[in-house]
Symmetry: D2
Subunit: 233 residues, 4 copies
């Protein structure tokens, strides 16, 4: 059994560029190519599009990620329906690997305030310690029962009912820059956001790793997203 | 703690009729109302539309269901993205109720064959008995640890990591007749289906209850769906 | 031949309420019904959801409109893909009615500035007059050629190639409050909008009529939309 | 003025492979890479997925086309909402080029039968001749009025109301293999189709050119689509 305190995000394949955003937008106004344009112009155009919520030019690109994260993160993730494609490891068809999520020592453990206005604060050393202990015991027991059921010949799809939502799963997730920005806008917390978000830490860990790839592949679009309050067009 | 061997489906609100399918379709060809038409004509038109994959006329209606089912069912359910709206009980914001899914004695427990060609067969009396015993023990232990973590002041969204995917959750799910037929086509098994499906039993239990409401509210559409191999248009 | 300077919007069917928004949201936090809640609480909850971009609770409702507008409006309209269902009169299957759009005398006719920063200003009396004259002549000639082609036995789908995008068409359009707010946010101009929009006047005429029905059916949601800068959650 | 009897389809960018379909599917059952697999296995797996309507593995790829076709084709095209992204030349922002669609001499001109059971047959030599003559005259007159309006300072978005739906437009359209197969299934006619389609000839001309690129980039997926009755999974 492995206890992991981090998520994994790999960029499996990608076809994305700031230039294609501009090309797609330019077809509305004139048909010439934009290849010869100066970079300043590209940046200005992208900024104009983002600010004015012209969203469709940001859809002509693709990012496929391979993500490893606990099931409770994927549960939230899959609620993003539009511009997202998923294929996930299935407990019906395969025995899940024995990897479980455990918060690292910096994960704020205590929730204060009421629904709609939660604040998370650090746990005491004792809380940190006992949380880990309880999680590990609970995970181990659930795993044992899962193995017991499988050994008795029970189908995987029935046996897995005992597995906790803290178990790690894996998926391919494909999106475009527009659907990715919508995700990032909701699933990251940033001082400069026009609309504040209060994401669960574990989904933000995934989102931050995805954002690093986005920034690398579409630097002007990312910069404009950041500059314009992280609002998806 | 409650152990439940069934799922719940209520129809919370509904605005759906066979007549509206025909009205929507008729706008393509002539603008008059169809109110005075004979029922035979309505049925023929619906049959024509379904058979010829004219899907859009089936979208002008709405069903909102309230569904109680285990998390592993909702995980599959939420992969239906288009024409579906969801709001689900959240383990981040509320303490989940202590209700867990346990297969009834008729649930085939044993999987035979290989991926892509599974067959499910009944378990032996002993398998049935021990499966229940193990599930109950495992659920009870997970619940205890969840309570322990909450008692120590750990945030709900962290504590719930130990909860099993067999715990019951609840959601509102809204769809239209077209997205519902796409769901039923994949999530029910029927001898007469043009394309055979091998749904997990627990999602089929949900699907069958939804289908009963569909049949009641749009009898001609349902009959045509059944007659045409249960293919969504 | 008729020349029309307005669009038509009827609400054909509707199942929508502010209460259902709150019920759908409440399932995340507690399962009790909200029937006994005071109206003030409903309004506060809706406001909280809209402001914090919790969009899904606004999807459990339905509006079906019947809209008559020129083809160039429907061309823009149909670019709204998500949460929208359409059935439109078809020039392939029916002879289109001889109704054409003509701006009324108040429609600003002259475009100043450059792409991305257009301003529309009123035309002179002469421009207004000659625009009407040219439109009417052109529409009449196109209609004559359409009739000529049909008389010679040419298929409707070929003959209609000569028909102008100013001809009136009709469609059913079904949406929910969330997709409707996204539409209104982009297709209406309002001083108080967080993000300014510059819609084409003719699509705004449609949008304003749809908004009146929305305001009537979901007054608290509409008020909150208006108060929060007309940003769709 | 140009009269064109064909449509244009270019593949602007593409990231698509049969291998990625299999990789995405394999994550459900086991996590190893499929790189070392024999081609026969890939083909068998793809065939299994298509036949059993496992659609999501076909979504992790992208095709961006640049398409030139008459507006009446784009009107039909844009009704494909899911898995499609569009940016089209806009008559609001640019003066449209003077290019118009005219059927070639082989285009069946005459429609026989009634709605739902149309058959198209060839026109007589005279019908072919006079159709061309009327289309050209009508297009030319509409274009003159458009130019007149522009010359008088009328805004492009108003002036274009006289332009016919037979005028050529251009767009970028991005899709994935799954949404592309859904399009091809409806917009092409093929003897071997499980569900017969009766597409308008001009949209089929576009579809056939798109299909040639699809076949080239994902040969095994295409072959399986063809072999399985051209039903999108």
């Amino acid at each position: 059994m492995k206890f992991l305190d981090d998520v994994d995000v790999d960029l499996v394949q990608c076809l994305a560029s700031d230039e294609m955003v501009v090309r797609a937008a330019r077809i509305s106004t004139k048909s010439e190519s934009v290849v010869e344009e100066a970079p300043g112009k590209t940046s200005g155009m992208i900024n104009f599009l983002l600010k004015n919520r012209h969203g469709t030019p940001f859809e002509h690109n693709m990012f496929t990620f391979r993500i490893k994260a606990p099931i409770f993160v994927f549960r939230e993730f899959h609620r993003h329906r539009i511009g997202w494609s998923y294929n996930e490891m299935s407990g019906r068809y395969t025995e899940l690997p024995a990897e479980f999520y455990e918060p690292d020592v910096y994960r704020p453990l205590v929730q204060e305030g009421k629904p709609g206005a939660y604040v998370f604060v650090e746990g005491t050393a004792e809380q940190v310690h006992s949380t880990r202990a309880i999680l590990e015991t609970s995970y181990a027991d659930s795993w044992d029962r899962y193995q017991q059921l499988l050994l008795q010949g029970v189908a995987k799809e029935v046996a897995r009912a005992v597995l906790p939502v803290g178990i790690m799963s894996q998926m391919y997730a494909t999106c475009n820059a527009r659907s990715l920005m919508a995700f990032l806008s909701l699933r990251t917390k940033d001082e400069t956001s026009t609309f504040p978000s209060y994401p669960m830490q574990e989904i933000e860990m995934v989102a931050r790793k995805m954002e690093a790839f986005f920034k690398e592949k579409m630097p002007l679009t990312w910069a404009s997203f950041q500059m314009n309050g992280r609002v998806s067009p």
